[in-house]
Amino acid sequence: MIKSTDRQVFSESLRMAVLADEVASSLRHISERKSLEDHDRRVIGMAEKALAEMSRGRDATKNMQVEESLDASLAYGQAIQAIQLKPDRFASFESFETLVASLNGQLKEIEAARKFDVEDLYEFFTAIRELAMTGGTRKFDSVSVSGVE
């Protein structure tokens, strides 16, 4: 059949891996220094955008709206998997919305330099990083043979 592709050269998962790594790294520094630098503020801003994207993916799923871009749906899928990856940390949250609201609240506190409680955020974004880095279905080799039973 007529095949058509518009694959991204660099996958969305890889972008998420870079973002999550930067967020985790910044959170670690912030927690040690108890202060934020310009780069940290940019990273926190990107983390807020990522959480917003996850929420948008959640809303689209709930309302069954196929959106223009599939990125939000992917982000929401990764968020769910991150929660499943670390149930001990996140099981106490009643719902996805509660968790995202809590993570957002923590980011706001950090941004305002009021509290530097980074543990939930750190665990969440390291889980996202692990998932994003291991995403994809790379085969180690491909085998094809004929004439052999």
């Binding site: 095949k3 592709t5 890889l14 870079v18």
Partner: protein, 497 residues
Amino acid sequence: MPQPVISAEQYSLLVRERIAALRQLRLGLIRGAPQSAPHRFFDSIRILIGAIEKVFTNRSEDIKSQSISEVEKDNKIAFAARLTLKLLNDVQEQLFPFLEKLGSPHVPLAVLPAMQRIASEFETDVELYLFPASEHNFGFSGFRNLTRTFIQKFELIIPDDLKAEIQKEAEKLPSWFVFLSFPYVVHDSALHLTPLLHELGHFADFERGIYKELLPIDVSGIEAADKLVDKICQMPLSQQGPKAESSQEPSVEARVGQILQREVIAQQVFAQCSEVIHSWVHELISDLFALRMVGPAYFYAFATFAGTVGLEAKAEKTHPSPAIRIDFMVKELKELGYFSEDSSEQVRSSLKGWENWIQTQKLEPEDDIALVAHLAMKENATKLANAVRKHSPQFSYEAETFVAKVPCVTADLDAGIPPIDRPSVHKGVLEPCGFADILNGAWTTYMFSPERLESLLDCRVEERKLRAVSVLNELVLKAIEASEILRRCQKPPEAKA
């Protein structure tokens, strides 16, 4: 924190090795490339590899300068190296294949200028190439703002001075690189290369954002979507999930819904539905686009192609079934006037045959997700057709045009003459034959009146039909190429005055 099992130093060496190898490979491919090769695409790859290398060097140096433990540094560098290797894998797998067949004798250069001209109607800053493939299908691979997209995606790890450097280097690159692939077995057949217009439709779709007129699509009213989630939730574990490890655990009776939250299932089902709907929207837009561009020629080309790979094929994740696509196209041809009494009798009659065939087909897919996509497309069919019409006003190959222009092309072909030009409204001036007119003339001759061309051939009876098809393709390729040259050379009459 334990040391990484492959040391940071080893990882860094792997990165350097891969970068050197890719550079060497690229240089070798440039040396063997013909003049018509996409040289600016080679430049893009050079810029990207250089940028990835600089990002890695920068990150490594930054990590080394941090006041953290050596083990932590090693882990961070190892992570940066793994990430860099993934980026390099992507460049290697997504971009290098297009450099590997540049010298192929199976690139139909005769149709390339026409394809480039049509593409430039949507975006002038585009470099388009044809790419032969051994698999029997066609493909579109488009790269928009290759280097800018890299910067946007990874802005957090690219220092500002490097961003400026990459942007400066990329100034001379086109906005788009487009590669249209085709089965190389048909490289010399103008008839069987016609589906390339569907691939051009993808370019128009992505460049103009035609699909955005359709999305978002609300599938909440489609009962099949909700039912699918329910169905999976109710599915016995033995069918869906892993088997229970101990006999004490519930197995067949256990329901997936009790273990996995409905939310997780809904997310997965909806993500799959979204992906399929996205693909189908793009495919149907491209079909209608190609159809509006060249009318019945694309329809016959698609139907013939589908006939060779499976006319009754089921719908796939990536594509609606041929029957669904033909149904959409027949409706659009009706809109273009091909079922009216004034249209070509042969075309009208054959299209009625296809319309009857559709009645015999079960359009509803059996697969649940494909069914959701089918129902979503059915609900949005009018919107989809209107979106294509809105974005392709310059392309509207109506039945009236067909009747006015195709017979003289067919007459040339019947007489063994390549239909290159025809008298224009200006006395004594010949104008190039239209690309769509030539293709329709070719398909009309092939489908309805091959005998006249066959009768001109002096060969054995059993070879005549095949030889006539071959001659027809030669005439059409010559006409497409020569009419395009004429179009480029000929100044418009008003400019001459």
